[in-house]
Every structure is written in C-alpha cells, then in structure tokens.
Amino acid sequence: MGTFQIDFGNTRPQRIAGIDLGTTNSLIAYMDASAPKVIPGADGDPLVPSVVALAETGAIVVGNAAREALVTSPGRAIYSVKRLMGLGIDDVTEELKLFPFRVAGAGESVLKLSLGDKTYSPPEISAFILRQLKQNAESALGEEVRQAVITVPAYFNDAQRQATKDAGRIAGLEVLRLVNEPTAAALAYGLDKRKEGIVAVYDFGGGTFDISILKLQDGIFEVLATGGDTHLGGDDIDNLLLRIALEDIATEWGMDVSSKGGAVQLLRRAVIHAKHELSTLPVTSIAFDYSGRSYRRELTRELFDQLITPIIERTLSPCRQCLTDAGVTPEQIDEVVLVGGSTRIPLVRSAVERLFRAKPHTELDPDKVVALGAAIQAAILSGDVQDQLLLDVTPLSLGIETMGGLVSKLIHRNSTIPSSATEVFTTAVDGQANVLIHVLQGERELVKDCRSLARFDLKGIDPMPAGMARIEVRFLIDANGILNVSARDLRAGKEQSVEVKPSYGLTDEQVEGMILESIEKAEEDFQERQAREARVEADTILAAVEKARQNDAFYELEETERDQITRALNELLVVYHGDDHLLIRSKIDQLNHATMKLAENMMNTAVSQALKGTKI
C-alpha cells in the first residue's frame, strides 16, 4: 500500500551535525532516529587525523592522507593546530619549539603558519579539517550540511572559542553552539542511562586536559564546576619520550637527527606506537630505522609510569580544585567518566580511581564519546531531543582593568552561562568623547597576570563636564562561553556605540576575507567533486552496458534500438572527461533511457531461466 506524502516545499528541517575538532583526531556525528552515530570518511575511518598537508599538486589534503606527508615532506604538513588556536605570536614561541612549524610573516598582528609556499592562520588550518568532515558527512548523508555544533575544551578562553567559531565560518558552517567537551561526553553517557547523581568527567586528550563535575537530575545536566589546562595532553608525553630517544640516538650514533624534520616525525611515530602498546603490554620497544642505521630501546611500563608521573600529577590538582569549587567531596561522586585517548594509559586510570574513589566508566570509546555527545546536543538544538538540557559554566572569571593595574571581577568563574553583569562608566576629563575599557579573563588580581581579552572603545560620548557621563556597559557571556558587550548612554537614553579591538585572534573583517577566499576555493572543489561523482556513476552504467552487449538479449533488439544504445554510449564517453557534471548526468540519463528495453528483456530472460531450474 502506498502512502500520501504531502510536501509543502522547504518543510524538512536541516540536519545539524556534531563535530569533535580534536588535537589529534577529529570526528563528525549525527543523530540517527534515536542514537548518535559517527560518520566515517571515504577511507572508512571515523577518526580523521587533524593533519593538514599541501600536496605537490598544490591541493590541500586532510586526515590519513596528510599524515604520510608529515614524514615525507615535513615542511608541507601541520598537526596539533588546536594548541595554537586563539594565541598571539608572542604566546607561541615556547609552544613552537616542540613543533616543526614555521611562523610566517613575523611582525604581522595575526599568527600565521607556513604550509609549503602558502601561509595560513590556525583557524584557516582548522577550517580545512572542518571542510573535510563536512564533505564526509555530505557524502554519507546525501545532503548538504550547513549547521553544526562544535566541541571545545571546557577550559578554552574567549579567544580560543572565538577562533574555533571563526574556523567554522571559514569552512562554510553556521556554528550554532560551542559545547564543552566533557559536558558533551556526559551527555553521551547520560542518554542511555538516565541516572541521577553527581558525575565527574576526566577528559585527557591529545593536547588539552579538562575536568568537569556535573549534577544530573530531571534530564538537566548542570555543570557545578570545571577546570583544566589547555596545554597539557598526550602530546606532552610524546614529546617527553621523543626527547629521551633523540638524546639516546645522539649518544649511540654520534649524530643529531633532531634537525631532520622527516626523521623526527618517524621517531615521533615510533614513540607513540610504544606508548600505545604500553597501555596493554608490560614491556615494549621503541624501534627506529633511519638512513641505514637502526635504534632499539626497550621501555617497560614501570619506567614509562615513572617518566609520566609528573604529567599525570599536573592533571590532579585541577581535579582537587574542581571538587572544592563544586562543593562536593570525593565520596559524593557517583560516577566517573573517562574521555580522550590518553585515558587509555593504565596509570591515568588508577590515579583517577584513587582520587575520586570510584571505578571509572569506559563503556564508550573514549575517542568517539565527545562527537557522540555533540550530535546529541545538535539534536537538542534542532528540537529532536526535548527531555534533556545542558547548563554549562564559564571556566574563567571575567574582569575589567581598574586603577593601578588591578582587575575588578564582574563575572566569576563557574557561573552558569548565559551570565551577565553591568557596570556604569563615566569620563575623567571635561569634554572627553571616548572611554576605553580593557576586559580580561583570569583569576589573578593584577592585569599583567590575566589574559587580555579585548579593548572596548565607547565612542562619540556627548561633550559634558568630567564625571557627568553615565554609560552603562553590559557584559554578557552567551551559551557558547563567548563575551558580548553592549552599552547604553543612560542620560541620552540611547544605544552607545562600542568598537571592539580583540587582543588576539582575528577581527571580523579578517574572518570575512578568509570566508570569501574559501568560498571561491569551495566552489572549485565542489564542481570538481560533483564531476568526480558523476564519473563514478558513469563508470557503473558503462560497465553494465558493456556486459549487456555480450548478452543474447542485445541481439534480439531491433537494429534501430541497438543503434540508439551505441549512440548514447558514445555520447557519454565524449563528455566523460569534461568537468561539467550536469552534462555527464544528462548523458547517463540518455543511456539509461536507451537501454530500458534491453534491461527489461534481460530481466525476463533471467527470471524464466531461474524458474526453469527450480523444481516446484
């Protein structure tokens, strides 16, 4: 029985994707009927390595394909770019010592990295990863994906969040929400459990560490407190092992390979492999072969544990602080959830178990759980999931600079977001037309110890004696954890104009420029991709027709019918290598049409033959 489908045109709501933009790997997921699902890439791997490379042909490649370039042409590949998001040039000197990247255009206001002969800002590099994920999802779902939820470390500051949002925009995605990674993970665990109680989420990934404590009740996931370190992760363990191996090799071979990019990447891969093995084995070895020489070093789990203890320790003090901030004792924690690849390390598991006095949950794949949670949050936004709601907090206090280089706090850390505060400003000099407000993020008392966020310039104040102006400024942290500032002239009762000068990251104009650039690129890419897809389809029908021409049924056709098929076949072959996908498709249709009777005849023959062979 058929059913009537009434289509009022544009009624089907757009699907919102959930994206985990990770330091090491990135994933895209969506909500399928009732459960979140991760979408694999063309190579079948759901984990897309967060590596971007510039191929010799000038094309950008992302993921597993780009990972090879790290070893073969290290100057043309970038990894772990998440660690550089939202940073200024001065911040990265220390960080970049560990990476083989080159900073381009010193003296520019924005951090840019060299990739072959081109330069890109970290949000642009991240946008390449996002575009790949978007494409993977579009191929799998057969529809355009334009809206997304992207996860960020809970401890990301305003600039890092803004940079992530910019990356989404450059990739052609409307970022409907930034969700904190540990909170997303809690959502993924909470969905099938519907538990009530206090949950701690320990999220130790490739480059960042987060701890969040949540209260689950009545479908509400209320974050009580969060803490972390945005520059602490598995990368640090790799770098530690790498340094030791490099020293070893220098002594053994009398040769410093640390300046040879490809060799360092090969060795990095070897130490990562050893690290992974030690999650299940008591002993392994680091194996590295380079220019005819070979290096082997045994590594026991015992020694490994000793080496990484200081790194694990660094995750524990934010955990203790978070417990205090949440106002709970370790005994009150009902569940502990582990997220991120680094939680596969046995020492991490036992340290967490000891601290929270609870056996951690590991049922869900720690590499996928954040993406799954992002997909659930996407379904909450689209209205497909209605019985759950996340209430998150801001990880850092927000303040303004006052007299003497001090910071006056306006919104305290761990405040539930959205959160707002207002402050009234006035002028210090007669006729003063501008007031500059310096906004900072951080917990310390002095401006120099906090992170400068932006300067807001209240412009065009009506001339009046000093101290008479009354400008009310409203600071609002939205549900993404991003600051919005608006101002009102209380005397005139009108909106006051505010000019934003971000301390780090990109201005709106810069982002717009990058979007335009990437749209042009995306158009080209899109054309190219559609043509490729049309060719794949053409291959299928060409092969089928070729086979059918050997069939008896072909010769049973009228001659004109045979001619029609041959003509359509040739016409398709003519347009096959062009890049006009519409033309290819129209010729496919033509060939399909011409072979309809042939296909029917073949089907009938096949059926009657099958029936002949069947005993009833």
């Binding site: 009545d218 209205g383 709601l389 549900a479």
Partner: protein, 205 residues
C-alpha cells in the same frame, strides 16, 4: 516593569514571561523573586528554588530557541542570563540578603568595610601576633591558632543562627529595623569569615 503589549501579537501585556495569547517569549522582568515566582521572603525553600530553576531553564534556555525569531532568541538569552544570575544570588543566603538590602534602598552597591566586632578587638590583636609568629617559623603558637580557628567557627555558626532569626523577623514584619540588624550581622560575618580563612591558610601551610 514591562508596560504595553506583546511584541508579536500586540495582546495587552500582563507581566508574564510568555504572552497569554500567542505564547511568545516576552522581554523579561528583572526582579529575581518575581522571576522565580517566589514570595519576597528571605527564608526560602532551597529544594523549591532548584525545582523552579530547572523548570524555567527548560522553558527559557537559548537551546530551545535556535529555530525561532531573532527577537525571541534575544529575549531567551536575556531571560536566561537573569535566571542564572538570580539563581546564584537567591540560593546563597548572604547574597540573597544583600540583594534585599539593595532592593529596599538600604544599600547603594558600594562595598562596605568588614567591621571588627568590638568584643573581638583584643583577641584579634593576639591572633594577628600569633599569625605573625607562625609565619616567622615559630610553631609554638600552633595550638593557640587552632583554638582561635575553633572559636571563630563557633562564632560563624552563632552569627548564621542570628541571621536566620532576623530573616524571619523581616519576613514577618517587613520592618526596616530588622534589615538594619541583618546588615550589621553580614558585616560582622564577613570579618569573621576573612579571619577564619587567614588562620586556616596559615595552619595549612
């Protein structure tokens, strides 16, 4: 307070969060007690407060308005910010009392200095000496400071008890004198609180 009519259907406004006619979210009002639908009282049922907070979050949170009109999205953001700020203030007895002081015009928002309770003057002097000595490495004052901590904690409990009975006094009489007493108790409590954390910090070191 809001006047006029619904922005969406122009139905006369009745100071509700949602228009009684077309159910559109309205520009939120800012008084925390009314916002939560709770009586203007200092004594407050915390379980009830949390229940209201969750209920209102489910109604107002921006997550619920992604696909609605820009106007409603703006109001949702504004309303949720008020809801969250209100919850933070109302669930903490000290912040709640400060809020009522401001509402009743007893406070202009300027920070007040934490006053030394006169009956403590002499002891505070001694404790400060002991703190100084401990910082200089003299461990013999440890016992004295532990006693000080216990005394101060006892005072805190006592002050909290007094505060609660003054909360009742205000709730029952709406007598501004009760609020004045509450203000005095808050200042004293703040002073004791500062002292306790200083002593605790010294003992932990």
């Amino acid at each position: 307070m809001r006047l006029g009519s619904c922005w969406q259907c122009e139905h006369p406004a009745e100071n509700n969060l949602f228009c009684t006619y077309c159910n559109s979210l309205q520009r939120p009002m800012t008084d925390y007690f009314s916002f939560f639908g709770l009586p203007h009282k200092l004594r407050l049922d915390e379980t009830e407060l949390q229940k209201k907070f969750y209920q209102l979050s489910k109604l107002l949170h921006p997550d619920r308005y992604t696909r609605r009109a820009q106007r409603e999205r703006d109001y949702s953001l504004e309303a949720t910010a008020i809801l969250n700020n209100g919850y933070r203030v109302l669930r903490d007895p000290v912040l709640r009392a400060e809020y009522v002081l401001r509402e009743q015009g007893l406070e202009n928002g300027e920070p007040r200095s934490a006053q030394v309770p006169p009956e403590l003057l002499e002891e505070v002097f001694e404790w400060n000496m002991a703190l100084e000595e401990l910082r200089d490495g003299d461990a013999s004052v440890l016992h004295q400071l532990q006693q000080a901590r216990d005394t101060l904690r006892g005072m805190q409990r006592d002050l909290d008890g007094q505060l609660h009975s003054q909360f009742d006094a205000w709730d029952n009489s709406q007598d501004l004198a009760a609020l004045g007493r509450i203000r005095g108790l808050l200042d004293k409590r703040k002073y004791v609180q500062n002292l306790v954390s200083e002593v605790e910090k010294a003992l932990a070191a």
